[in-house]
Chain length 481, copies 4
Amino acid sequence: MDYSTYKDPLGSRYCSDEMKNLFSDQIKFQTWRKCWIALAEAQRELGLDNLISKEAIDEMKKNKDNINFKDANKKEKEIKHDVMAHVWAYSKQCPKAAKIIHLGATSQFVGCNTDLILQKKAIQIIKKRLINVIFHLSKFAQKHKSLVTLGYTHMQPAQPTTIGKRATIYLADLLTDLESLEFTESLLKARGAKGTVGTQASFLELFKGNKSKVKQLDLLIAKKLGFNDAYAVTTQTYSRKIDAKIAEALAGIGSSACKFASDLRIAAHLKIMEEPYGKNQTGSSAMPYKRNPMHSERICALSRTLMNIPTEFHSMHSNQWFERTLDDSALRRIEIPRSFMLTDSILLLYENIASGIIVYPAQVKSHLNAELPFMAIEEILMKCVEKGKSRQEMHELLKKHALDAGNKIKSDGAQNDFFKRIAEDDKIPFTQKDADSILKNPGKFSGMAETQTEYFLQKKINPILKKHENLIEKSKTEIEV
Amino acid sequence: MDYSTYKDPLGSRYCSDEMKNLFSDQIKFQTWRKCWIALAEAQRELGLDNLISKEAIDEMKKNKDNINFKDANKKEKEIKHDVMAHVWAYSKQCPKAAKIIHLGATSQFVGCNTDLILQKKAIQIIKKRLINVIFHLSKFAQKHKSLVTLGYTHMQPAQPTTIGKRATIYLADLLTDLESLEFTESLLKARGAKGTVGTQASFLELFKGNKSKVKQLDLLIAKKLGFNDAYAVTTQTYSRKIDAKIAEALAGIGSSACKFASDLRIAAHLKIMEEPYGKNQTGSSAMPYKRNPMHSERICALSRTLMNIPTEFHSMHSNQWFERTLDDSALRRIEIPRSFMLTDSILLLYENIASGIIVYPAQVKSHLNAELPFMAIEEILMKCVEKGKSRQEMHELLKKHALDAGNKIKSDGAQNDFFKRIAEDDKIPFTQKDADSILKNPGKFSGMAETQTEYFLQKKINPILKKHENLIEKSKTEIEV
Amino acid sequence: MDYSTYKDPLGSRYCSDEMKNLFSDQIKFQTWRKCWIALAEAQRELGLDNLISKEAIDEMKKNKDNINFKDANKKEKEIKHDVMAHVWAYSKQCPKAAKIIHLGATSQFVGCNTDLILQKKAIQIIKKRLINVIFHLSKFAQKHKSLVTLGYTHMQPAQPTTIGKRATIYLADLLTDLESLEFTESLLKARGAKGTVGTQASFLELFKGNKSKVKQLDLLIAKKLGFNDAYAVTTQTYSRKIDAKIAEALAGIGSSACKFASDLRIAAHLKIMEEPYGKNQTGSSAMPYKRNPMHSERICALSRTLMNIPTEFHSMHSNQWFERTLDDSALRRIEIPRSFMLTDSILLLYENIASGIIVYPAQVKSHLNAELPFMAIEEILMKCVEKGKSRQEMHELLKKHALDAGNKIKSDGAQNDFFKRIAEDDKIPFTQKDADSILKNPGKFSGMAETQTEYFLQKKINPILKKHENLIEKSKTEIEV
Amino acid sequence: MDYSTYKDPLGSRYCSDEMKNLFSDQIKFQTWRKCWIALAEAQRELGLDNLISKEAIDEMKKNKDNINFKDANKKEKEIKHDVMAHVWAYSKQCPKAAKIIHLGATSQFVGCNTDLILQKKAIQIIKKRLINVIFHLSKFAQKHKSLVTLGYTHMQPAQPTTIGKRATIYLADLLTDLESLEFTESLLKARGAKGTVGTQASFLELFKGNKSKVKQLDLLIAKKLGFNDAYAVTTQTYSRKIDAKIAEALAGIGSSACKFASDLRIAAHLKIMEEPYGKNQTGSSAMPYKRNPMHSERICALSRTLMNIPTEFHSMHSNQWFERTLDDSALRRIEIPRSFMLTDSILLLYENIASGIIVYPAQVKSHLNAELPFMAIEEILMKCVEKGKSRQEMHELLKKHALDAGNKIKSDGAQNDFFKRIAEDDKIPFTQKDADSILKNPGKFSGMAETQTEYFLQKKINPILKKHENLIEKSKTEIEV
């Protein structure tokens, strides 16, 4: 192992091997060869059998995966052109095909089609991870659907909800992400065989002006590469807007994960919930007792860079001049893999957490009880309105007492005496008996939380999990701290 | 007119009245009242007719549009709460409804539902503009589908294409934008009646624990507000991810427009195309003869801020804590209207340009002819391969001659002598006769450009225009310089 | 008041009149005239007194502030060129100067110089606000320098610090912001008189080829406009990089304010600190008792858009072609005022909060005591090491007991029994007596917090406040909720 | 070489070994040990010689660079804590120091101080590259200071300038970047020895309450680590605002480089300038004659991601809660090296280009001559004003003729007949003789361009180069295509 040079932690620490392998040179150049084979086959099938022999294609197929990197790299150093270098290296392995590899094509024939194939596959990996997070989170929501907890707005106690209901909010975001990802996937087509500036001129020449064949060639290659269709029009490349759309779908996942992880970090602060904690894990050198939500924090860290990426792709797309400028290349080489690897890393963490969230019901209850009298205000207000009082007037009176009680807690560390205060106020139709009745049944203040959770899981989540059940994995990955 | 304070040029110069009106206080508070009426009606229809009289509702309907701003503003100054101030002001106009306006609701009942209604309407305006740009651009593409022009990659002459074909690229981007916009629209549902933290607790109380009625209430309100459905689960607000998705769809439009406008600015530099130019318009104080592509430049300027907005919404969504924090409010107040107003302004400019692009065919031809010998290289290369030569060898020879010819042009300002050079090279099977034959038919170098344009317009664009033909406007707006 | 059109809330609700006035048309066109007067005076002083009479200049000075907007607007509508329209309007008021207003200049003579003047003034306003926030916050830090509070890392209890010490962190960030702002200010020079593409050609013509005079003209105008220097070289405009640098300095302020406000929102959740609360302010319609940190939340909201702006300016600068393209114009018109108005709004809120932060010492103490046993771990660890034990071994033992005690709290809602546990562990040299001794003096766990605060205020803050004491305002502004 | 996993092209293709080595594990852990040695030495010097023996320190020094990675990695796997693992591994090599390595410190003692040291060094590398770009570009500007070329505004011919003058614009931007970088450097101090939450509590304990010694410890360590000062106050970490400031300074370099490279790409289109072109380099597989400005395009690509990074750091800083949250860690691990590596890669390209820009004077002249008649308008306008004509009237007449002449060129491909037109217009005091006189001396239209270039190089650039002459490298790096 070489310790004298920079190692990107995304690759070396956070991302799955599956995703890293997808964006490896091995897979990239295999896919280039796949494109060249599809081109030769399609050309032959459409009538160029005089130029392209079956033997040539067989030779190409035989060598489709054994990339002679050394040869290619040496040639690339010499001519400084990666596609021509790999044409040369492939030709060296396939002497019978030497004249027809890449026939009529421009570099972006392999470049764009490969990028589209890889991104489609990367989307599949991300979708699998998304489904698994949804799976674990839905089990969590189901389990805690009726565990009443304090709901917060402005990070201030508001009204009770349930732990399960809160989890449905994360799930709803992930469903939107899944829909976005699938929408984005629907935008992916093959770039096909379009030629230098997208006019298919060289192919039209090859087919002696037969336009129908050129059109067929485009679609046939698309099919052979696993797409239903090819883009009807392109320049030298497919539109970089597509890259931007993918980046947006991934950024959305980052945003959802960050929202979830921020909440979990606050929940850990409240000691009501915790992310799973590895054995032998050291909290910190100075504070060993701490249960730091480090995986949740890492989700937030990675998300902040992921959410920022689409802007770069918009910048790239909007600044492309005419039939293509190369100011997309280095950015795409770096940011396409990076955005998938970030999303992959985030979802691995999310899945790990979602499958093992720890809940402390005693703490949940303790926080709730401290604020319950205030929680009842809306109900008291409505009761007063039912008894014929003006909403505004009651609102103001209750507000005053609530503020006084709240202030007393803060200034003296005293107990919550709100019920006592309003019971003693003649203008408010409220008695100690009313107070007792309220306190007896705290669960009622969470309204439809449980019902909503059941409904949501049944109607919105389960059909999705059913549809993708083949993607649900049995075992979980270990996360490196 | 008050000149002593800042006026946002987006509002005062660039954006349409239609869009500005949509985000006005008048429409906002009308929509609040629409929400309150829907709430009251739905509550009454579902059985609260003892609390909510027909008279109360009639009174509310009678006053639905005549906002008493003075009263509301005065009250808001006093109590510093806009929703309560408007409840109070509306109640003042509707004494019979005073006790039931906003019954069981929290501020975000009007806040979120109104935002969703307005954004849905704003999307309609944007869609209309998008369709009109597509309409004009498709006419342009049709008209110039066979006008051969030099295609550029790396901003260097590459191979010919056609003016019409190039326009299909802009159209393809706009189609993707339209699909994205419609996908985004499909994500919009009513926030419905969800209560303080999204549990519908106050409504469950109102309906004495009848969960089915509370569920119905949510959907009934959604319908009354023009939605097919309500979000199954929300916190105090609907998920801010939805805002981010909308911002992304709009940013995409900015990116497409900026790509188009950048190309047009370069085309204007080449004197091959120009944006329409207003009468009496002064180029610049010092250079009156100039035809500056100012509208295209403005599109780029506005797009650069529009493309940057989604990041803010991701930041907002990902940092929301638990059931809602208010660190979304000022940002949404500013950036939701702004993103629509920017898009509106950009599309007005785009439409104006697309409907009047000037083309200079003589200049188009002049640029093409200067590079035509080089343009033929791919064909010559293929011809040589057909004659049995090695692709790589020919490639290298042609490259050498092309570089020499190219260098001579640059260093001496000489004519292009590429054909002469290769005709004289014995290793290359190419004669002056071949050269003449090539020069006679320059159109052939644009390959399928014309055919692609026809196909694309017929198969991809026309069905869309047909579907939305009611949105196509007859007259165009004047743009302020 | 017109309610039928959009009103930007930044202008109508958040920003100061002072800042809005600075970016008004009145000030803008006054400054244009200031530039024209400076130009005419400098030209006359350098020898063009045959062309430029004293009477002409007197006339210009007499009309320097009474902009005839109606005339100018009408002309602008006609010729669609704002600078020429205002030259015309000014000329109408100054018939004797008609031929010499704007002599030799291009539009950007008034455009750029005015933008630089206004930004310089806007920086002064921001600096004033920054100083006032620092002033109030430093008083706060001084007051609470020894109030021990729980310090948090990972949002988990870590070690005690003091409320005052924590405030120094916000102050340190603001000092960095102030330094950045002053650095940025140092980059501001006049654009001077540079002509169409920055070559001063028209001025060289005017001065009959006298280069020295043209150079003097540039500097003389700079002086007259309040700058020490003019940029040595420009294109048609000064470098848009300068705009980016300003935007960065402002974004930094947003970041600091957001960090402060996020902390205060968490502190409010803990009920240890609160932002000042206006009289008659309604918490929320449904939860009147709540003390929502709405101003802090608004700071975060506004900061999220402010922090995002520099990217736009980088995009603008990096895409400027050759001697200037106009794809900067609309963006600068919108984003320069907006970035200052956002910063202004944020600092007004920050100042308002900083001058009235409420602290609840009883709550501070209550949170501290609950975690004090854990807080002592580092000390216990060090004591054990002093007694000859291995750091690693002790670390692991203490960690185990701390985790057990922590788990018990969470699962049972029990009291913290950490001291009891370690006192009973024979391997750890710790007794109940040690425990008592620790608990007797909790203050000692805050280390140098108080000392650091004193030192920091005395050495770092006070000199700055002293230097800028003229900027410290006595009365505070009221903030609109 | 492993081809089965992702390799970041930034590391494997674009960035210098020098920069990659700086951010390697080897340097990182050496620097950690440097911090531990500084801590031990300072503690001993300040009186803890009973605890910390000379032998222990000698042992630490002896092992300062021979990191036992295997041991450390194995331990880290086990305890999942990198700092404790390296303390353990170092202790294993230094048995005498085992008890005192990291004494009183928290992880961020090594974390933050190391990050600051590495960033300071990385800034030095960037500064060196910046100086070298400035060096080459200034030679270029000097060489071409009087080569008159067409200046463009709106990408339309405007007025002549010179090639050298245009280069001063890039230089001026780089000077601003250098100033920003040096300002940022001035913000870097040591984090020193601050302890868990920044209160130095553990050190105060170690020094038995002697505050003066604790203060001295902080500064002594800072000195030993190469800083003039330590931050007066920190939390567990130094303020993440500092990271944001660094990212901004680097983003600014990206912006300048992208502006330069965009211009060069347009210049290459005009065939007036070209980036140096490697031997044996293949233009493209299909268009071998092309001289694609690939390095300039790559600069733009890399800049677009670099310019986008500061937002992430603002997001990170503004969301840090209280004394530190770990949602900074993964982001900083990835983005700090990445931003330096991007800048490094960009400047390597910039330097390579700047040292070998090719200029084609014949093409420069050819473009100029085609537009010269229009170029003279400003002069003609001024001449007319001198002859007593109204500026506005002449402006309108000239504008009309210029537009007509311009239109004729575009529609007919005709020659520029502007001079003929105005000579024939009786209202304009202009004759063919005037035309001839103008055409005879085209150089005069570039005004002060040459003089400005000389002045700028002499007064602004040379002093900087002089100051940093030790940084100027003699040989250039080869860039990988």
